[in-house]
């Protein structure tokens, strides 16, 4: 019983962490049709922001607040310098963002060395939960993820920015003809997506070793979740639950490597059977 409960919580924890990472990716892709291969490195920058803040004597909470701001600004600069030159050249956006990811990773190695850092986490106690004890910080991560999902829903369905963004997703040129500045919207969206990645990096940092390779490890499950779910918010939630659930279960019962293989095999089979993801086009809202 305990095992099942812990397993369920672990799976939920991982799934929500994936959603946290995937959200920025989905938003940027939905609006700009850009697959941001540098998303993992933006995540990385979020974690290192926290490292820097803690080294400078600032606390965890300050780092958590600064990370999305710093990484959002980085996103703004990247959009202006690079991304906007390759819009409408789909494969080139993948390559360009990928080149960015290499450069960021190297810059981090240059600044911080290849070794890993650990981050002091707050909330170092267990919470009694239906008879088992679960780390409070993991519950905190889940809370942040849920909050981010709600925030995104609110922004997209209850604000003018969200309406404009949805309009651009649905029909870019018509939205422009109605007077919506798609250029500014693109920039804001990329920055917003980057900020989410930065937040995710800072939130996840205490759970993992902060090193230059950490971005990739999270990027792939996020991508697989998006692919299996079919994109969009609901699709991503579904995909993340599948990926998170399968990965946690197999990792606990067998080994983490086997879990990755199984998740990947699942994703490939789903892609073969449902090329548009499990939700088909319907997930794209």
């Amino acid at each position: 019983m305990d095992l099942i409960l812990t397993l369920g919580l672990d799976a939920l924890n991982f799934a929500l962490a994936i959603v946290l990472v995937a959200m920025g990716l989905v938003i940027i892709f939905g609006l700009m049709n850009v697959i941001n291969m540098a998303h993992g490195e933006l995540f990385l920058l979020g974690a290192y922001t926290l490292v820097v803040v803690q080294q400078a004597g600032g606390g965890f909470w300050l780092g958590l607040i600064l990370a999305p701001i710093v990484v959002g600004l980085v996103g703004l600069v990247l959009e202006e310098l690079i991304i906007r030159h390759v819009y409408r050249r789909f494969l080139d956006t993948i390559l360009a963002t990928w080149g960015i990811s290499i450069a960021i990773k190297q810059a981090v190695i240059l600044g911080f060395g290849p070794a890993s850092y650990t981050v002091d986490a707050p909330l170092q106690f267990g919470v009694d939960f239906l008879g088992t004890t679960y780390p409070a910080y993991r519950l905190f991560i889940m809370g942040v993820a849920v909050l981010v999902i709600l925030l995104t829903l609110f922004v997209f369905f209850r604000t003018r920015f969200g309406l404009a963004a949805r309009g651009v997703i649905a029909n870019r040129s018509m939205a422009a003809c109605l007077g919506i500045n798609t250029r500014r919207l693109d920039r804001a969206t990329f920055a917003f997506g980057a900020a989410l990645a930065g937040l995710a990096g800072a939130v996840m940092a205490p759970q993992m070793s902060v090193d230059p390779q950490m971005g990739l490890g999270f990027l792939i499950p996020a991508f697989l979740a998006i692919l299996t779910g079919g994109g969009g918010l609901t699709g991503t939630l579904l995909g993340a639950s599948l990926v998170g659930g399968i990965d946690s279960t197999f990792a606990k019962l067998w080994s983490p490597v086997l879990a990755q293989v199984v998740v990947f095999a699942m994703a490939i089979v789903v892609i073969r059977l449902f090329p548009n993801g499990l939700l088909g086009g319907r997930g794209r809202r």
Partner: protein
């Protein structure tokens, strides 16, 4: 293939053939290694430049070939004699089979286009590396050490610079010639149609999925061959040969060289590696940072590749070139 392009390619190969006149034995060994990377880059250019498939995990086939070669030539496969020829065959067949199987999942069923393909191959590269690290039969984290050198039945073990260099050069020229010949057949033309207008190609009656499957399989075999040649020189197969890092590098070489010209991709790999030899000691980690930045600039401003731009310009200068 156009006449001038052929003339240029011939000039390049003759240049490589003459290099031993000016460089020493040790440098020849290095260049031979870089040329195996060049063959590897051609395999990526084949699917990316010719069929528009952006593969982020091309090293899985390179590494697969390297491990196959190592296992066979080290005599670790029960019932198989330890032979370079058998190793080379295994190094081409195994990656090709894997690519074919994978392609059946990826290309059939309504389209899996650019991005999906890239992400899936990226995921495979990362997972393959982790699997190799955890698989004791192929040496786990430490890999396989003491892989014997090439022995093709003539001239004994190929160890010295000159024979190794010419053996690899011969393979590179043969691979190049076969691929170039293949691309000038109707199959190559169909690929071209596929790259430019996937929908229109389907409309014209090309079976896109089969085309992709065929080219993906062939490219995997070429990558496997290059991996086998590499490991026979390097004497050491490790999980990094399968993984994300090398996949990244080959993509950079190919993009900088030029994805749509096989010879440019080959040169891209060799030139970048030679430059890395000189510069990475001076620049340290700055080298990769600069390479990443150069890659981004190249994608934005010279999507055809730096060396390809140069070659295409030279091509026009040759007599009979189009202006």
């Amino acid at each position: 293939m156009k006449r001038n392009a052929l003339v240029l390619a011939a000039i390049v190969w003759i240049g490589f053939a003459l290099l031993p006149l000016v460089v020493d034995d040790w440098q020849l060994l290095q260049l031979a290694q870089f040329m195996t990377y060049g063959v590897f880059a051609m395999s990526l250019a084949l699917i990316w430049g010719q069929a528009g498939l952006l593969c982020f995990g091309q090293a899985i086939f390179f590494g697969g070939g390297a491990y196959a070669m190592s296992l066979v030539t080290m005599g670790l496969i029960p019932g198989l004699p330890a032979s370079s020829w058998l190793g080379l065959i295994a190094a081409m067949v195994l990656p090709a089979l894997f690519a074919n199987l994978l392609g059946r999942f990826l290309f059939y069923g309504r389209g899996l286009r650019g991005a999906h393909f890239g992400i899936v191959t990226l995921a495979i590269a990362v997972i393959a590396e982790r699997l190799a690290i955890n698989w004791e039969f192929i040496g786990g984290f430490n890999g396989l050490m003491g892989v014997p050198p090439l022995n093709l039945g003539i001239g004994g073990d190929l160890i010295d610079g000159l024979p190794v260099y010419y053996a690899i050069l011969a393979v590179a020229v043969i691979v190049f010639a076969l691929l170039a010949a293949m691309l000038s057949t109707p199959f190559g033309l169909a690929l071209n149609a596929l790259r430019n207008h996937e929908d229109r190609a389907a409309f014209l009656g090309y079976d896109n999925a089969r085309l992709k499957l065929a080219i993906f399989t062939i490219a995997a075999a070429v990558a496997g061959l290059s991996g086998a040649l590499f490991v026979a020189q390097f004497a050491f197969a490790s999980p990094t040969l399968l993984g994300f890092g090398l996949s990244t590098e080959v993509l950079i070489w190919t993009a900088l060289g030029g994805k749509s010209l096989l010879i440019a991709a080959f040169l891209g790999a060799v030139v970048v590696r030679v430059a890395e030899n000189f510069l990475s000691e001076i620049l340290g980690p700055l080298w990769l940072l600069g390479l990443g930045a150069l890659f981004v600039l190249c994608v934005i401003f010279f999507p055809r590749g730096l060396i390809a731009e140069l070659l295409l310009r030279l091509e026009r200068l040759l007599p009979g070139g189009r202006r």
